[in-house]
Structure formats: structure tokens, C-alpha cells
């Protein structure tokens, strides 16, 4: 998904792999700060205070589209799979599953002990109802296409087929059969997405849109909803009916909605919250000096880049110019000095992912001088010089100070290496979005957060005609490779195909990579049961508090 700010990045779905089980042993944690003494026994009061980046736009699993919504829903609901403490897919409502040889048919076996929070049994029919609800156009689920892997999902969402044509079937109360439109090796990751979570049909029938209110909401996750004060806080309490309640330590979780990163920092320093969703990148050095290892910064499955319009001059049919802009930038010092080292410089579309070999381009290994010389040569080859400079607007969303300084430094980098005059033009996100979709912008802000840990979530954006292909990029060979990967059941071979596709993007200078995103949390040393993970999903279900003094 594209976005200008961290909280709007959320606008896209995130996904991860699922995990299982409770946490019995303390996980590795940072050493405590000097003012906090941490014991080894569980704290008497297991109440967690978490800061949340924004008010969720909805806590209806099928309607939620943002990261804050996903965080809360991860605690309230649970799908066939979930994410474990390390962010990997693992068993949840489904305890076991098997798939056919062609990878197109899966059968999931649900836990008989799985219950709704009102005590009613959770059955395969609940999943059938919920998945049909997502793809039913009448529901208005913005992420309906997230179900594209399920047979007929897109045709139903397009109003061409009835909802009962969806490739999902309850064989009995605890067995669910799923037919796919093609082999989907990342299916278990997909099924840990919030829009696949089951919802309780009787509550929706009885209360309509109001079913998500605390007094009506029936859920199946580790926690239930006790209070939802818009713009202020969301209070959850342990769900005793949860199938794995014995391994859930926390009795209460309060999400405090703090839109401003600095406000999250203040509340953390004051001891009001144990966990923050983010902190301003510009404060990292200072925070590290004050809080030490309580500052947690790890790779996140997203990247920030600049797009170039392939359908308009000067980039249309102008490979040397595109390459010149890509090569001229000194990414290491730019991210180190202008982004406080929070983010890592990027040379690829895909962020690092286990088993996927990032096709790092050869030019990234050149010395600065050699790279600059090559960029200047390409710039000249494109017809530009000191007397005929490239003059362009770089269109972006409204930026925070740190991001603005970073882009100003990028523009200065182009000016010093190439002599190009690039001016930054900030505009409202909705305005930028409209212009992007109309392909009116020439050089623009672009960003993407992966929905699930698979290269396809990144590659699809450069597929010919994709709605998010704001660049208007089209290369039949690239499309063929992505299609071939889509039909490949062997994951290793799929990854090799994606790596080839990504090399084509570099050959075509399809975009200007800048940096990979990073998670940014402040975490009290007495909070355990979490690990940094690339999808940045940390379920309260696994967390617990150790006894401690100070804050």
C-alpha cells in the first residue's frame, strides 16, 4: 500500500504468518534501565498499557483497513491461523490441515474446544459465513480483493457470482474445505489476516452495524472488548472462553490512542504506557541515550521509494535519465544522517525476507566516485547538462519535519551530483492519490508495506495495469515471470522467479529505491513475551509482566 505517514501506511493490510501456543518461558529482553528493577516472578497485576498510533477506523474484522485496527483485532479475534511470537504463521482455530498435491485444495480441522466469547461453539460454518461476508459487495469490505486466492472470490466481489459460489465449504462442524484459484504457498499467512477472522452471525443479524459495540461484540480471540472510547482508549479483558486461555497471562490490555509520536514518548517516560507503537525517528539518538535497550528498532516489511511516470516525459522511453537519478543518490549517508539510522538504505523493491535472495544490483557495490561518474554519463546521455538542467517537481504527501529534511537532502544530492533541480511539492494525501491514479504526476512519493511475507505482495504493484502501478510501468517479460511464479507450487522456485523479475525492475530503473522501513517501539524491560518481527505484529496474548520497581 502506498502512504505518506506511518499511520496511513496502515491503510493497507498487513499479514503474517501464524503461530501457536502460549508463552511459558521468558523471552529474551533488553536489560532494564537504571531506574527500573525487574524481578523474575510474574507481576501480581497483569495489566498492560499499550500506546496505539491512531483510532481504528473500524473494529469489524471485515471492514478494518488500518494497522491500529489490526492490532486490536489481533487481540479480539483469531483466524484459522495466527502469528506466533516471532511473527510466523502457526495453528490457531485450525489445529491441523492438509493440502492436495496441486496445492489448490486445502482441508482445515478446527479445534472442537474453540468457542465464541459467549460460550457458543465456533464451527466451520462460521468461517463460511464470514468469508462470504468479506467478498459480498453489499458488505463494502475495502479489502475484499485480499481474498483473491479463494476460488471465485474476485468474481463474487465484482457482483458476477453469488456469494455461495465462494470456494469454501463446511464438511462438518469442525472441518473446512477451501478451494483456491491457484497454488498459494503463502495461504497460511493469508489466513492470519484480520479480514479472514470469523465473525458471529447472530450478533450481526441482531444489531447490524452496532454489533461491534462493547455491549454487543462477540469474539473468539484471547480478549474481549470492555470499552471503546473514540479517540481515547480501548480496553480489553481476558476472554475466559478462549481455547488457549490457560496460557494467556494478561488480565487486561488498555490501548491508549496517541496520534502524536512525541506524545507516546512522553507517556512512556512518565510510566503511563509499557509499549509504544512508534516514536519519532528524529528522537532515536536521544531516546537511546536516555532509555538504552528500551528503544527497539528492527526491520519492517515495507519500503520507501520514489516513482517515475513511464507514460510522460521526461521519463517516458528515457532509461538513461531514470538510471541517472537512481544511481546518483548516496543512500548510506542519507539514511544515516537524515533518518538517524532508524531505516536501512534500500537497493531493491523487496525488503529482506528469509530464503529470498535480494537481487542487489551491481551498481550498489561501486565506489561513490565511480557511481557518480556513471550517473553523470547517463544524465548526459539523456540529453541533460549544466546548461540544460533537469527541472522537476517531486510530488509528495504532507511531510513531518524529519521526512521533509530527508527529501530536501535527496534533492540536494541530485543537484550536487547531476546538477538537476528538483523541488519538493507537498500536497494533501487525497489530492496526491487522485493525481497518482490519473497518472498525472511525473516524479512522486511512493511506498509499500507488504500485506503478507511473500514477494508477490510487492511484485504485483509493477504488474501491467495493476491499480497501484502509478508508474504506468509495463514489461511483458516481468509480467510473465510474475505469472509463472503464481503458478509455481515449489516455494524455492517461486522465489527464484521473483528474483529474476526484480532484476528486470532494476534493469528498467522502474523506481528509485530509498530505504526499507523499520519498526519503532519503546518497551519497558519488565514486559516480556514479545519479539521483534518483520510484519510488526505483537499479540498481547503472548505478553506478560514481570514484577518490577520504578518506571
Amino acid at each position: 500500500m502506498t502512504s505518506g505517514h506511518h499511520w496511513t501506511l496502515a491503510a493497507g493490510a498487513l499479514c503474517v504468518i501464524a503461530g501457536c501456543g502460549g508463552v511459558d518461558a521468558p523471552s529474551p529482553a533488553p536489560p532494564p534501565a537504571a531506574s527500573i528493577t525487574v524481578g523474575s516472578a510474574l507481576a501480581g497485576v497483569q495489566s498492560l498499557d499499550r500506546a496505539l498510533d491512531d483510532t481504528p477506523r473500524s473494529i469489524d474484522p471485515q471492514l478494518a483497513t488500518d494497522v491500529p485496527g489490526q492490532r486490536v483485532l489481533d487481540d479480539l479475534f483469531e483466524g484459522l491461523t495466527t502469528v506466533d511470537i516471532a511473527g510466523k504463521a502457526s495453528a490457531a482455530v485450525a489445529s491441523t490441515w492438509e493440502s492436495s498435491a496441486d496445492g489448490r485444495t486445502w482441508v482445515f480441522h478446527l479445534r472442537p474446544q474453540a468457542r465464541w466469547s459467549n460460550g457458543a461453539p465456533l464451527t466451520a460454518a462460521d468461517f463460511v459465513y464470514s468469508w462470504r461476508r468479506v467478498v459480498d459487495p453489499k458488505t463494502g469490505a475495502e479489502y475484499a480483493q485480499g481474498m483473491a486466492a479463494i476460488d471465485n472470490a474476485l468474481q463474487i466481489a465484482a457482483g458476477k457470482l453469488p456469494t455461495d459460489a465462494l470456494g469454501v465449504e463446511a464438511l462438518d462442524a469442525h472441518t473446512l474445505k477451501v478451494r483456491l484459484s491457484g497454488p498459494t504457498p503463502y495461504l497460511l499467512d493469508l489466513l492470519a489476516q484480520q479480514y479472514t477472522y470469523p465473525v458471529y452471525e447472530p450478533a450481526i443479524r441482531q444489531y447490524g452495524d452496532d454489533w461491534v459495540r462493547p455491549e454487543h461484540l462477540v469474539c473468539n480471540g484471547a480478549f474481549v472488548l470492555r470499552e471503546n472510547v473514540l479517540g481515547s482508549r480501548i480496553t480489553l479483558e481476558k476472554n475466559d472462553k478462549y481455547w488457549d486461555a490457560a496460557h494467556v497471562h494478561l488480565q487486561r490490555v488498555i490501548y491508549y490512542i496517541l496520534v502524536d509520536g512525541s506524545a507516546q514518548v512522553s507517556r512512556f517516560l512518565a510510566g503511563d504506557v509499557d509499549w509504544t507503537d512508534s516514536f519519532p525517528a528524529s528522537q532515536r539518538s536521544w531516546l537511546r541515550s536516555v532509555l538504552g535497550e528500551q528503544v527497539v528498532n528492527s526491520p519492517y516489511f515495507g519500503d520507501y521509494m520514489l516513482g517515475m511516470n513511464f507514460t510522460l516525459p521526461p521519463f517516458k522511453d528515457n532509461l538513461p535519465l531514470r538510471q541517472a537519478l537512481v544511481l546518483a543518490l548516496d543512500r548510506e549517508p542519507l539514511t544515516h544522517y537524515m533518518r538517524e539510522g532508524v531505516f536501512q538504505p534500500s537497493y531493491t523493491l523487496m525488503p529482506p525476507l528469509p530464503d529470498y535472495q535480494l537481487p542487489v544490483p551491481e551498481w550498489s557495490t561501486l565506489s561513490d566516485d565511480a557511481r557518480h561518474q556513471l550517473a553523470r554519463r547517463l544524465y548526459a546521455q539523456a540529453g541533460y547538462s549544466d546548461r540544460h538542467r533537469l527541472r522537476l517537481e517531486l510530488d509528495t504527501t504532507m511531510l513531518d519535519t524529519g521526512s521533509r529534511h530527508y527529501l530536501e537532502a535527496v534533492a540536494a544530492n541530485w543537484r550536487s551530483v547531476l546538477g538537476a533541480e528538483i523541488h519538493i511539492d507537498e500536497r494533501e494525501f487525497k489530492v496526491l492519490l487522485q493525481d497518482l491514479q490519473l497518472h498525472k504526476l511525473v516524479l512522486f512519493h511512493d511506498a509499500w508495506i507488504g500485506d503478507y511475507p511473500d514477494p508477490y505482495t510487492f511484485m504485483q504493484i509493477f504488474y501491467t495495469g495493476n491499480g497501484n502501478n502509478h508508474e504506468g510501468y509495463s514489461n511483458p517479460r516481468f509480467d510473465q515471470l510474475v505469472d509463472a511464479a503464481g503458478n509455481e507450487t515449489d516455494n524455492a522456485r517461486r522465489f527464484r522467479l521473483f528474483e529474476q523479475a526484480e532484476r528486470l525492475l532494476d534493469d528498467d530503473a522502474a523506481f528509485i529505491p530509498l530505504y526499507y522501513y523499520a519498526t519503532r517501539h519503546l518497551v519497558k524491560p519488565y514486559l516480556r513475551g514479545w519479539e521483534s518481527n518483520v510484519m510488526d505484529r505483537n499479540l498481547s496474548r503472548y505478553m506478560y509482566l514481570l514484577e518490577h520497581q520504578g518506571h
Partner: protein, 307 residues
């Protein structure tokens, strides 16, 4: 006075209608829609959402529908927060803002009034120059500087007060945001009260009172104070309407569930109904508090006749 009040209230209706119409037209003229997201929706889904919120109807019909709902007191559903109505958002947020805002105004009147009158009585002294210099600093210092400073001192260093959150108006949660919001108003009130007190102290009826040999304290309390309030009241009318509808900075820094932030976020998200709802509310409060200010004039100054 009753007839005057009724006439003013009836006169507010066309004013509010103009506000609604302008807000409606401007919002719909802005590029982008409420459900345009970073990720493109399937067309059939988009159609379904637009039909649900009547966005597929011609604009004039949407406008008339909105007016009919408004006449019934229904401000419509929020587009930004699905399953939530604008009435609910205002009902939840306005009491928070009103509590903080009115506390801030009370602090401003108490502290600013006392400082301003004192400065006028000691005109030309170090106290006068000192407090007025502080007032200039108070007016010039933005809330986004004051609020984090208050948090740093009272919440992080001293741990005397919470750094934010809202627990049903508990005084400990109210103090810091109310004071942060009050600071510029304290300074304004001090300057207004100083100026008006000096004017009144130089007027003929005060000279007469002095000539009669009345003690200074009696002159100030019985004769001077009431007329000095006139300029303050014209300031307070719109000021109260402003503070009770929230401050985006105070709400953001302290994490308070008010409605001030929606003036910006709802507009950026093209949440048409929420923007129009809070704009109408703000307009209605401005009209109401200006009316109250006019009524107060008549009470304070017998020369004012309401017609």
C-alpha cells in the same frame, strides 16, 4: 429582552444554513473522496459503499437529504469511523472539550483579571512592566511548546500529575491540559483588563468618586470594576466558543478524546458529515456566545439598549 433573544435565535437559522451550504459545496469540490484509499477498491465494492452512504445520488439530493436529517438533529454517519455517527462523536467529545475549555477560561479570568487590574492600579511600576512583559511572552508562546514543557516538569520529572488520558474529568487529568490551554488566555485577559481599567480610572465618574473622598478599594470594587468588563465580554464570546470546541494541539499532546482534532483530520479524510457537523456546532456556539455577550453588555452597562 426575551423578544430580542428570540429574534436573534431565529436570525441564526439562515446564518447556519449558509454555513452548512458553504461547507457542503467546498467539501464536495475538494479533490478525492472519503473512501479513496492507498489501495484501490474493486469497483463493485466502491459502488456498494457509495450507495450505503448515498454518495451515488446527485449532489442536490444529497444536500436536501442532509438538511432534512439536520432538521431532525441527525448529523449523519461518520465516513471515517465506520459504525459511528457524528452525533455520537460530538456527544462523546464535546463534554471533554467543554470541561477543559471552561476550566481554562475560569483560570484565565481569575489569574488574568487579577494581574491586569493590579497592573492598571500600579501603572508605570515594575509590577506593571513585569506582568505585561510576561503577558506578551504568554501570548507569544505556542501551546505546542507549553504543553510538552508542563508534561516534562509535572509528569515526567516530578510525577505529580498524569501526562495525559481522560478519566471522566478527574481533576488530576484536567489540570495540565486546562492550564496549557489557559496560558495565552490569561495573558489576553490581563492585557484587556489592564487597558480597560486604566480607561475607566481616567473617566469622569471615577474622578467624581475620588473627589467625594471614597477610599480607593471602594472605587475599584463598586464603581470601576463593572464597566471594565465590557471589552472583556466582547473577547470572551468567541473565545469560549473556540475553547469548548477543543484544541487540536492540547488534544494531541495529552491524548484527549475531544473533537478539536476532527477540524483537521475529518477535512483531510473527506469525512463530509463529520466536517459539516462540527462546523455547524462551532457556528451555533459562536452565535450563542455572541448573543450571551450582548445580553451581558445590557446587564453591565445601562446605556446599552437591546433592540
Amino acid at each position: 429582552m426575551l423578544r430580542y433573544t428570540l429574534r436573534r435565535l431565529l436570525g441564526a437559522i439562515p446564518t447556519l444554513l449558509v454555513i452548512v451550504t458553504l461547507a457542503f459545496v467546498l467539501l464536495h469540490a475538494a479533490p478525492g473522496g472519503p473512501f479513496d484509499g492507498a489501495k484501490r477498491m474493486l469497483p463493485e465494492i466502491q459502488k456498494s459503499i457509495e450507495a450505503k452512504y448515498h454518495l451515488d445520488e446527485p449532489l442536490w439530493r444529497q444536500y436536501l437529504r442532509y438538511l432534512a436529517d439536520l432538521a431532525r438533529g441527525d448529523l449523519g454517519p461518520s465516513f471515517q469511523y465506520r459504525s459511528t455517527t457524528v452525533n455520537e462523536i460530538i456527544a462523546e467529545g464535546l463534554p471533554v472539550d467543554a470541561t477543559i475549555g471552561l476550566t481554562a477560561i475560569a483560570l484565565a479570568l481569575l489569574i488574568g483579571g487579577a494581574v491586569g487590574v493590579n497592573a492598571a492600579l500600579r501603572r508605570g511600576t515594575r509590577w506593571d512592566y513585569g506582568t505585561m512583559a510576561l503577558a506578551v511572552v504568554g501570548i507569544s508562546t505556542p501551546v505546542f511548546v507549553v504543553a510538552p514543557l508542563l508534561i516534562l516538569i509535572f509528569a515526567i520529572k516530578l510525577h505529580w500529575l498524569p501526562a495525559g488520558d481522560w478519566v471522566h474529568g478527574a481533576p488530576s487529568h484536567l489540570l495540565l491540559p486546562a492550564f496549557a490551554l489557559a496560558l495565552p488566555y490569561i495573558a489576553y485577559v490581563a492585557r484587556i483588563m489592564r487597558g480597560s481599567t486604566i480607561d475607566v480610572l481616567n473617566s469622569a465618574f471615577i474622578r467624581t468618586a475620588r473627589a467625594k473622598g471614597l477610599p480607593p478599594r471602594l472605587i475599584v470594587w463598586r464603581h470601576a470594576l463593572r464597566p471594565t468588563l465590557t471589552p472583556l465580554i466582547s473577547f470572551l464570546g468567541p473565545a469560549i466558543a473556540g475553547v469548548v470546541t477543543g484544541s487540536i494541539v492540547v488534544e494531541t499532546v495529552f491524548g484527549l478524546p475531544g473533537i478539536g482534532r476532527y477540524f483537521i483530520t475529518a477535512a483531510l479524510n473527506r469525512d463530509y458529515t463529520l466536517v459539516i457537523g462540527i462546523t455547524v456546532l462551532y457556528g451555533a456556539l459562536i452565535i450563542l456566545f455572541n448573543l450571551l455577550a450582548d445580553l451581558c453588555y445590557a446587564w453591565i452597562d445601562p446605556r446599552v439598549r437591546l433592540q
